[in-house]
């Protein structure tokens, strides 16, 4: 909300600097976003008079002027302009001056002749013909006829003496979206009386409002109050200068006297108004009703809008003339031939205006104001004030009487509480007389009787509903610096901390970090193209994803169902930056719809993605990462060949615990890597943390350590190339039974001439031990033979 200091001064005496005022407003809850001093962009430019003009001795197109700027000495300025003559009044930029176009002027020489400044054109002063007559002429802007003394700063000549405050008004303070509302707060913080706007006008007793128009409210739920007045014998012209100046100061463009008044009232009183050209209204009545579905109107912006029956239209007896509170119809607007107008000053419901405005994608200053909420008092005040201005400036004759269609009784809101309750919210003891004085100062009529604090709220403070609201009013004016920190002195003891699942998330991250990975942070939304890049099958369930209605762009339009795409993207972007060896992880949610079309909250699964590329990274380093993680949670997994499309066929595995699918790991498919312009081999893994939490084994049990020595044996067997090590070891364990306490593969040897085609030799270490006695060689030999027999029958294994 922009307000000018001079406008505020109509309603309250301000005797502090604008900076002090801003500080006080901030303290009371009104963020002053900017203080704009008009004229700050023009300095040291004064009114001068050319007293002597002569040709430059060395330049035909230059003239040397002697200028009187009200000082004892004349100053000399060389100008190239030809439209000046002796005796002209001219804008004179002195040495060290600043022009509104950003130019700074310094003393200098032109073709050897000293020039102590510059004469300015209208363009250089950023003035249009509307701003100053003669501003658009080519050459120097002539100011002949100005009555100001020579040497007067042009900011004073142009009336650039105002200060604009740009104030952030919070959504609860709809009443402060007006100069009057801000003035009320200023009066409170400065402890000055508020002067209400001047009201008073004479009417034309010969013309009754009823002779001109009637109003029927057919949708009182959307339009609880509709007031109207009429003005005849209008002469459309430019507004009075002060009105134009004030509208401009808050960023509005003056149009004509009638439209300007409606805007002026909206800014000053906070009441949006509309003026209908009576000539355009068909029939005798203005009707406010719900639109019919499909009803059309062309608004002032010359666009056609199709309405529906949730929307309010203002009609005459034949056609819609305005979308209520948002924009007038194209043809009902005020034009140069308008003779009689009907002023509308109405209360429309803010939520309805907001919905209609968004549905139609049609916004205006009026709809913005209505969306913030209008109280029941400002319709009359706004209308009276508008008529006062009409009368004051003689813009027309005011018909006798006003129409007031009020759908409900206006009730006064009373909140009852106690001083103790207010202080129990604040935690300090604000004396009751201070509380009363603050509230009454805000025009909240408050009394304290038998411990009951009774507060009668004015209409414009419909935000106040309970003791907390009153406590806020008290403390924002008493001062938040009076609040002294205490640490839950009256609170009950509680047990803090994280649950197991939350702790696990921390553990998972710490394991990844200790494995050398850095944590990434990527968006939860991604591109729908990611599924094709990952080569997911058409029926892959991860293609079932949640779409945003209005995404920031196609690339951020769906909620991700896998972290693989983000992880590969981040590896690729690091690769592109020539980062040589990169290990990353991310712990984040994926969003799996329970049903499509989407109509209930989805499952949000916490997933861990790990990724790496670079020297020393391979399938097994990634598998090592997975194993370290699972070991920490006591999980023993099986690895099965995976057929995930974005992974390398021969270097990828699905991770299972029994039938439970925990995730996968593998090398990124070369074609997928290629589509990210990466030629390095990349490795990724994705682990479902929900499943990990479910499978995690937190039981630790003491196992006595055998004091009897182990017996170790190594065997070497020849098997087909495609036999998996994991299957061999499973078979060995089965054959070894309880005696076999450990086994591992320690060598794999390939040599076609020795072993034969597609054969490999696998060397396996076996460790046997019993807890209660020393094993005999015979016992161990029997087990080894059993293992070899099993390997032979299951895998055709031949001992070497």
């Amino acid at each position: 909300m922009k307000v000018s200091l001079s406008w505020l001064k109509d309603f309250v005496d301000i005797d502090v600097t604008v900076e002090e005022l801003a500080d006080k407003l901030v303290g009371a809850g009104f963020e002053v976003e900017e203080i704009i001093k008009s004229g700050a962009n023009m300095k040291n430019v004064v009114l001068g008079k050319i007293v002597k003009l002569e040709k430059h001795p060395d330049a035909d197109k230059l003239q040397i002027c002697q200028i009187d700027v009200g000082k004892d000495d004349l100053i000399q300025i060389v100008t190239g302009a030809q439209n000046v003559s002796e005796g002209d009044l001219v804008p004179t930029a002195l040495h060290n001056s600043l022009l509104p176009n950003g130019q700074t002027i310094k003393r200098g020489k032109l073709r050897g002749v000293a020039s102590d400044g510059m004469l300015c054109s209208g363009e250089e002063l950023k003035l249009s013909e509307e701003d100053y007559k003669g501003a658009s002429v080519y050459g120097i802007m002539l100011m002949n006829g100005e009555k100001y003394p020579l040497g007067t700063d042009l900011n004073d000549v142009f009336g650039n003496d105002d200060v604009i405050l740009d104030i952030g008004v919070t959504a609860n303070r709809s009443d402060c979206n007006s100069v009057l509302g801000i003035a009320r707060e200023v009066a409170t913080v400065l402890k000055k009386p508020l002067k209400m706007p001047e009201i008073g006008f004479k009417t034309d007793k010969n013309v009754k409002i009823g002779d001109i128009v009637d109003v029927e409210v057919k949708a009182p739920d959307l339009c609880p109050r509709y007031m109207a007045a009429a003005v005849t014998d209008i002469k459309i012209e430019k507004s009075a200068e002060i009105i134009q100046k004030r509208l401009k100061s808050v960023g509005l463009r003056p149009i004509n006297n009638i439209v300007d008044i409606t805007n002026y009232i909206r800014v000053e009183i906070g009441q949006p108004m509309h003026a209908f050209d009576k000539n355009y209204l068909e029939g005798e009545k203005i009707i406010t009703r719900r639109a019919e579905n499909g009803e059309k109107i062309v608004a002032l912006d010359e666009k056609e809008y199709t309405l529906d029956n949730s929307m309010l239209v203002i009609c005459d007896e034949k056609k819609p003339c305005a979308v209520g509170g948002i924009m007038g119809g194209l043809n009902s607007g005020i034009n140069d031939n308008t003779k009689t107008i009907v002023f509308e000053s109405a209360k429309f419901m803010r939520d309805n205006i907001r919905r209609t405005s968004r549905t139609l994608n049609l916004r205006s200053d009026s709809s913005y104001r209505y969306e913030r909420g209008i109280d029941f008092d400002s319709q009359r005040l706004g209308l009276m004030r508008a008529l006062t201005l009409i009368d004051k400036y003689g813009y027309g004759k005011i018909a006798d009487g006003v129409i007031d269609r009020l759908a409900q009784d206006i009730t006064t809101k009373i909140v009852e509480t106690s001083v103790e309750e207010i202080n129990s919210i604040l935690g300090i003891d604000v004396p009751s007389d201070v509380i009363l004085s603050i509230l009454n100062g805000l025009q909240i009529e408050s009394t304290l009787e038998n411990g009951v604090l009774k507060c009668v709220c004015p209409a414009f403070r419909d935000d106040i509903e309970n003791a907390n609201d009153l406590a806020e009013e008290v403390i924002r004016l008493y001062g938040y610096d009076k609040i002294v920190g205490t640490l839950l002195v009256g609170g009950n003891q509680t047990l803090g901390g994280k649950n197991r699942k939350q702790q696990n998330a921390d553990i998972v991250k710490e394991i990844c970090v200790s494995q050398g990975m850095s944590e990434t942070l990527t968006y939860s939304f991604t591109s729908p193209k990611c599924f094709d890049v990952l080569k997911l099958a058409e029926n892959d369930e991860r293609r079932n994803c949640i779409k945003l209605l209005k995404p920031l762009g196609e690339d951020l339009s769906i909620m991700r169902t896998t972290l693989a795409y983000s992880m590969i993207s981040m590896l690729a972007s690091n690769n592109l930056k020539s980062n040589k060896k990169v290990k990353l992880f991310e712990l984040a949610n994926v969003y799996i719809p329970k049903s499509l079309p989407f109509n209930e909250l989805p499952n949000e699964h916490s997933m861990l993605a790990m990724g790496s590329y670079g020297d020393g990274e391979d399938f097994f380093t990634m598998k090592g990462n997975v194993e370290v993680l699972l070991r920490r949670f006591g999980i023993v997994a099986e690895y099965k060949r995976s057929d995930i499309n974005y992974l390398h066929k021969g270097r990828s595995a699905d991770i299972f615990v029994g039938k439970e699918y925990l995730g996968y790991l593998g090398e990124v498919h070369p074609e997928v890597a290629n589509s990210f312009d990466v030629s390095d081999r990349m490795y990724i893994a994705e682990i479902n943390i929900e499943v990990l939490n479910k499978l995690a084994d937190y039981s630790y049990k003491f196992m006595p350590i055998s004091s009897y020595p182990p017996i170790e044996r190594d065997i070497a067997i020849v098997v087909d190339e495609d036999v998996l090590a994991g299957n061999l070891l499973a078979c060995v364990k089965k054959g070894g039974g309880n005696l076999l306490v450990d086994t591992k593969i320690f060598d794999i040897y390939r040599n076609e001439s020795v072993l034969g085609k597609n054969k490999k030799s696998v060397a396996i270490n076996l460790v046997f031990r019993l807890a209660d006695r020393t094993l005999t060689d015979d016992e161990v030999n029997a087990k080894v033979n059993r293992i070899l027999t099993k390997l032979s029958s299951e895998f055709n294994a031949v001992q070497r």
Partner: protein
């Protein structure tokens, strides 16, 4: 005889002194103390010593043996020590070379900040609250006193998925969910991702917030300030001051913006605090009794305190990161700085 012994001792002393290797000292030992060594030879000459002198000479011989034994053993120890020292010196390594297997990754700066904040509050008796990121309008807005078409909805643009399902715009939705399901006293701290359609140097369409909520019988605005002072002083330093400025949030009343004294310039004014000496970091307030009632908590009996902050913003201030987008670039050279 006595002279012979003395001479032998002198010889032995000299021999020991001249020994520079373990082999040499071994020979010395054999030469003087061995089965056929000098001392044994000397003893063999005992038969020529008169009977009455034999005890005396025997004593000399024993003393000589003890002395020579001690000398040779001491020298052996010295030489063994020297030999092992020399061997180790040969094996000496350049101790300034890098260690092995030292690769360690890093936590994201936002995680570091969130962890720190969560730890502060869990130590104050807060549990970690959680809720879904894809949320019902009811929990994100309506129960928090933001009805449909209320102007307060303009404060937060929203990504909708359907008419009543959306990406949560704040972690305050966890407040509503927790209050419905939990009896007071409640103390929760809720970190999480939130979403708003903004994208520039200081806004990201996805960012992280931390929400705190206390619901108890006797809690006040002063407790809120105390909590936030404790938090600010632990997160930054013990001289950090907290300032309340009046503000508005639909779910708190009174509502405040919370400024912390600038941790960089300590209030003198600098680039980080834009010369004001204060950094706006939190929104907070006393929970609006309407919200308590909406969530089934008796507002006559209980009061609530709530606060929320943006993790990215705190990380940017704490680590001097100038542009929020850097946090999402995931360049490993940046990430590795946050071990």
């Amino acid at each position: 005889m006595k002279e012979k012994i003395a001479k032998l001792i002198e010889q032995a002393k000299l021999a020991v002194e001249q020994s520079h290797t373990l082999a040499f000292i071994n020979n010395v030992k054999v030469k003087f103390l061995g089965k056929n060594g000098e001392l044994t030879q000397l003893l063999r000459g005992m038969k020529d010593v008169p009977q009455e002198e034999r005890p005396m000479v025997g004593k000399y011989v024993n003393e000589a043996r003890d002395l020579i034994t001690e000398l040779t053993e001491e020298k052996t120890r010295q030489l063994a020590q020297a030999e092992i020292d020399e061997k180790m010196m040969k094996e000496s390594v350049d101790i300034t070379l890098d260690g092995k297997n030292t690769e360690r990754g890093s936590l994201h700066p936002c995680t570091l900040v969130a962890n720190e904040i969560v730890d502060i509050f869990t130590s104050l008796g807060f549990t970690l609250g959680e809720g879904p990121e894809i949320e019902l309008d009811k929990f994100c807005f309506q129960m928090l006193n933001i009805p449909p078409d209320h102007p307060a909805r303009d404060m937060q643009d929203t990504f909708y998925i359907t008419d009543d399902i959306l990406l949560r715009t704040h972690t305050s939705s966890v407040q509503a969910r927790t209050m419905i399901n939990t009896k007071p006293p409640i103390r929760i701290i809720c970190p999480g991702k939130v979403y708003r359609p903004d994208d520039d140097a200081t806004h990201s369409p996805m960012f992280q917030q931390i929400e705190g909520l206390v619901v108890d019988e006797k809690v006040t605005l002063c407790d809120l300030k105390g909590l936030l002072e404790t938090f600010a002083q632990r997160l930054f330093d013990s001289s950090t001051k907290v300032r309340f400025r009046p503000s508005f949030f639909p779910f708190t009343e009174p509502s405040v913006e919370v400024d912390l004294s600038c941790s960089v310039c300590h209030g003198k004014g600098c680039r980080i605090c834009k010369g004001t000496g204060w950094i706006e970091i939190l929104g907070a307030g006393v929970v609006n009794p309407k919200v308590l009632d909406n969530c089934g908590i008796d507002s006559k009996k209980y009061k609530g305190l709530a606060f929320g902050l943006g993790v990215e913003r705190v990380a940017m201030i704490k680590y001097g990161i100038p542009d929020m987008r850097i946090l999402f670039e995931n360049d490993v050279r940046f990430l590795k700085d946050f071990k």
